[in-house]
């Protein structure tokens, strides 16, 4: 349980470890992107953690980084092809960032720091915790950015619902800066500060 929860709060990849920030800032313009990117990262994290954990005795130490990269790149390519085939709209809106999951520090970081030293079960739990922590972080940033910057919340279209929820009042006069790159950094900075404040408060309470 600890392995799962630490990814959500104490070691949240975005707000605490500050890993994988480049795609985080780039794709968080729409909520649907956050969900898609999060799902992709969770899939790749679980897959690569399982494989790295299974192969930890087979992979020679000297070449463990290239071996991890091959494993991670394979899972990313699978995600990319599946997205192109089954959720093309998402695939085009995430663009190059799906491919860039390969170099996302969270994935290689967990393979190196956790999966290569632990068993499969713990590695899956670690991947789930980290993956969900990443997705939640991405969701919070994208929600703030899309609501403030475009006055909409974009989800997947289903049946007669076209996937876009319009926020009355904001849709006509959104603060565009949030949709642009400076907005991403601003939101990220404030959320990071808030997250760290919460964590330090919790720590203080514990000490007292």
């Amino acid at each position: 349980m600890f392995n799962f929860l630490k990814g959500l709060f104490r070691e949240n990849p975005i707000f605490v470890l500050a890993l994988g920030l480049c795609p985080t800032l780039a794709v968080s313009t729409q909520v649907v992107n956050a969900i898609g990117m999060g799902a992709g990262v969770i899939f790749v994290l679980i897959g690569s953690n399982i494989m790295v954990s299974l192969l930890k005795n087979f992979i020679p130490d000297e070449v463990h980084i290239p071996a991890y990269i091959v494993i991670i790149a394979s899972f990313v390519t699978i995600v990319d092809l599946l997205m192109q085939a089954f959720v093309p709209a998402l695939s085009s809106s995430l663009g190059v960032f799906v491919k860039l999951i390969v170099v996302n520090c969270i994935i290689l970081g967990r393979a190196e720091a956790f999966a290569s030293k632990n068993n499969v079960k713990d590695s899956i739990i670690d991947a789930l915790g980290m993956g969900i922590g990443f997705t939640v972080g991405l969701l919070i940033i994208s929600l703030v950015r899309e609501v403030m910057g475009a006055g909409t919340i974009t989800l997947f279209p289903m049946g007669s619902f076209d996937g876009v929820i319009e926020i009355p009042g904001l849709i006509d006069a959104p603060a565009r800066i949030f949709s642009l790159s400076p907005g991403a950094l601003l939101v990220m900075g404030f959320l990071m500060a808030g997250f760290n404040w919460l964590l330090s408060k919790k720590k203080k309470n514990k000490e007292n």
């Binding site: 091959v70 394979s74 092809l81």
Partner: protein, 213 residues
């Protein structure tokens, strides 16, 4: 030492080979789905743009120096490109679909490539034989939601409708727009530039095609 090196190489090769095999299988499964999906998407867009008229086979721009020079002259005249600039229409116009009614070509649908804030944009645009703009649809793009993404809506193209003749060319700068149109594109000038230049190129190209072909 040698056996250690051999061991490492062998193990890494095995990992790579297994990965390649798995990826091959996934590719075999997904490739036909991706191709079919793209074809359907294109067909749907063409059908919506042609207003029920018959869309002919896709062609690519002819490789003719004469046509290229005429196109350059028209684009320079309409301030789409500078006097010293050159373009490659075969790269920017990826497909030409003639639209015919009772066997007579009445319009052209051009698949154009523009460059926006988020990189490449694919635009399908309809032009009358005289080069005047009818309507368009933004296909693949990576524009910013709330800003450039507005170009996905059909209303975005109202400011271009009917324009494209020599006396009233496709607007390529904010100055040639009405105040309300200029207001509507504020914050997404790069998207507007990319789309306008692509449409202006399409318009001038269709004019050169004229009633031929």
């Amino acid at each position: 030492m040698n056996s250690k090196l051999l061991n490492m190489t062998l193990r890494l090769t095995i990992i790579c080979a297994v990965a390649a095999l798995i990826l091959g299988v996934v590719n075999i499964v997904t490739e036909p789905i991706i191709i079919e999906r793209k074809r359907i998407e294109q067909e749907k867009a063409l059908k919506a743009l042609s207003d029920g008229d018959n869309v002919g086979e896709a062609r690519v721009p002819a490789n003719s120096d004469d046509l290229h020079n005429q196109l350059l002259a028209a684009l320079i005249e309409h301030s789409v490109i500078g006097a010293d600039d050159d373009i490659d229409e075969q790269e920017l116009i990826t497909s030409i679909y003639p639209v015919d009614k009772d066997g007579e070509v009445i319009k052209y649908i051009l698949q154009l490539e523009g460059s926006g804030y988020g990189g490449k944009m694919i635009i399908l645009a309809v032009f009358n034989m005289d080069g005047s703009f009818v309507k368009a649809k933004l296909m693949e793009n990576n524009e910013t939601p709330g800003l450039g993404k507005k170009a996905e809506k059909s209303q975005y193209y109202n400011m271009y409708i009917g324009r494209g003749s020599d006396s009233d060319p496709v607007p390529v700068s904010k100055r040639s727009l009405s105040d309300s149109d200029a207001e509507a594109i504020s914050g997404s000038t790069i998207t507007f530039d990319g789309i306008s230049k692509a449409l202006a190129l399409g318009s001038d190209y269709v004019k050169l095609l004229g009633g031929n072909n």
